[in-house]
């Protein structure tokens, strides 16, 4: 009896269940054990879960890009692994505090948009976001393809597109129109694969490094032009302006130079 009395644990267990001490102690013990269990499981399994989430994100991006007509074949041909990065358009570097997940919330804040001045506003947008999500396709360490989402003003309204530029940051690999409201049969033909087929291989810059991209009137003449669409002058001009704006200094220009310098 004296033996049990000296052992505080047994003395505690011998207390009547209804005593205040025992109730409090049991509550504390149960919470402590449960807290240990839960935090143990969370900490031990976190690396595996993070890897799962990364794989899921990767699959989501690929599904997104592959869902764009025209981009799937392009990715198929070039192979490599696709990644996404949110870039700060002002300096062409990866954005420090914005991720793909928070991009939407960030752009909901008007402070993160820049008003464009009359002369610089080639694409007729009025303002442009400070951050944009681009997709990079890598082969080994080198970037083989960069997918640049862009927006421009057509005849009927906004045109959203994704332009694919090859690793030399000069050759267009393809274009996909993701959204437009152009006249069906005229400007609406920007959706046609036959028109989009004139993009691959077109050069963006001349030897001096000036942006020379243009849409031709009729058939393309020269390596810097793509075909125009008859009867859709304003749509084709809109496309030309869009590409020229987004590849210029206010668009992805800084990013393209950063990639050329090998910063990505």
């Amino acid at each position: 009896m004296a033996d049990t009395d000296r052992n505080p644990w047994r003395r505690f267990l011998a207390l009547p269940n209804e005593s205040r001490t025992k109730t409090l102690a049991m509550a504390f013990l149960v919470s402590a054990v449960c807290a240990l269990m839960v935090s143990g499981a969370t900490v031990l399994l976190r690396p595996i879960q993070a890897a799962n989430r990364a794989a899921e994100e990767q699959a989501r991006i690929e599904a997104l890009v592959r869902g764009v007509p025209g981009m799937a074949d392009l990715l198929e041909q070039s192979g490599g692994s696709l990644s996404t990065v949110v870039i700060d358009l002002d300096n062409g570097r990866a954005a420090a505090d914005v991720t793909a997940a928070t991009l939407e919330a960030t752009l909901a804040d008007t402070q993160n948009w820049t008003t464009l001045e009359q002369g610089a506003d080639l694409a007729g947008l009025g303002q442009r976001p400070d951050y944009a999500q681009v997709f990079l396709l890598r082969q080994g360490e080198a970037i083989s393809l960069v997918l640049l989402p862009m927006t421009g003003q057509g005849y009927g309204g906004r045109i959203d597109a994704i332009l694919a530029v090859e690793g030399d940051m000069n050759t267009i690999a393809g274009i996909a129109i993701t959204q437009h409201s152009e006249t069906p049969g005229l400007g609406g033909r920007i959706e046609d694969p036959s028109w989009q087929a004139s993009f691959p291989g077109t050069q963006l810059h001349d030897d001096a490094g000036n942006l020379r991209f243009a849409t031709a009137r009729g058939e393309a003449s020269g390596i810097h032009q793509v075909d125009g669409i008859t009867g859709a002058t304003r749509t084709t001009r809109g496309i030309s302006n869009m590409v020229n704006f987004w590849l210029g200094p206010d668009g992805y220009g800084p990013l393209l130079r950063a990639i050329e310098r090998g910063e990505f």
Partner: protein
């Protein structure tokens, strides 16, 4: 000897005769939500059985020292912690199925079945019978879930575990899927059918009617 018979009885009783879903109508919400395919039904069954058995053992171990005033909250905390652990394990090793089950794994906490068994049985019995009883109840729940999941996936998609069993009409076969089977109401119908079938075979399960219809109908004045 008597002990052994008792254990087998405890284990098998909840399978059909005392089935927690069809007789006691416990754990219905999850039974309806996760039975659109066999894979989710099986995962949910295994998770619930594991949580139920472990919590029964733990509660049974501390049953003599469980203050009556806080016993419910202690049981819920135990169950909730086990559920979080299971959820984390599923997220780590079965991330796709875990996405399909979404919040229903976390909702095991509020599954009446778990608290019902710990409160009614584990609190008064030693660990081994408590574990056996919990395991049996888990199996009883699983049987119903797997039956429902199997029927719904088979007739809703013509598949079992994702394998095409019935050739679809779209793909040149003869079976056109009943999309109703994938909606929640079909689980109600099927569960009702199962309850009816079980009670037809075992009439003692049927409850006495709560209201006796009046013998004569009086005209309203």
């Amino acid at each position: 000897m008597g002990q052994r018979v008792d254990i087998i009885g405890t284990l098998t009783a909840p399978l059909i005769r005392q089935n927690p879903v069809t007789l006691q109508i416990l754990g219905i919400c999850s039974a309806l939500a996760v039975t659109t395919s066999l894979a989710t039904a099986v995962t949910m069954s295994v998770s619930l059985t594991v949580v139920l058995t472990l919590s029964a053992v733990i509660i049974s171990l501390i049953r003599r020292h469980l203050p009556d005033t806080i016993r419910l909250i202690v049981q819920i905390v135990m169950v909730a912690s086990l559920v979080i652990v299971i959820d984390q394990v599923l997220q780590a090793y079965f991330s796709e199925i875990s996405r399909d089950l979404s919040i229903y794994v976390s909702l095991i906490t509020t599954n009446c079945l778990v608290l019902g068994r710990t409160e009614a049985f584990a609190r008064h019995n030693p660990p081994l019978p408590a574990a056996v009883d919990a395991f049996g109840n888990g199996l009883g729940y699983s049987v119903i879930l797997i039956v429902l999941g199997g029927i719904r996936e088979l007739f809703g998609r013509g598949q079992l575990f994702g394998w095409q069993v019935l050739p679809l009409a779209d793909a040149g076969g003869w079976f056109s899927p009943l999309s109703l089977m994938l909606l929640a109401p079909s689980a109600f119908f099927l569960l009702g059918g199962v309850v009816w079938a079980v009670r037809s075979v075992l009439p003692e399960q049927a409850e006495a009617p709560e209201h006796v219809p009046p013998a004569t109908v009086r005209a309203a004045e």
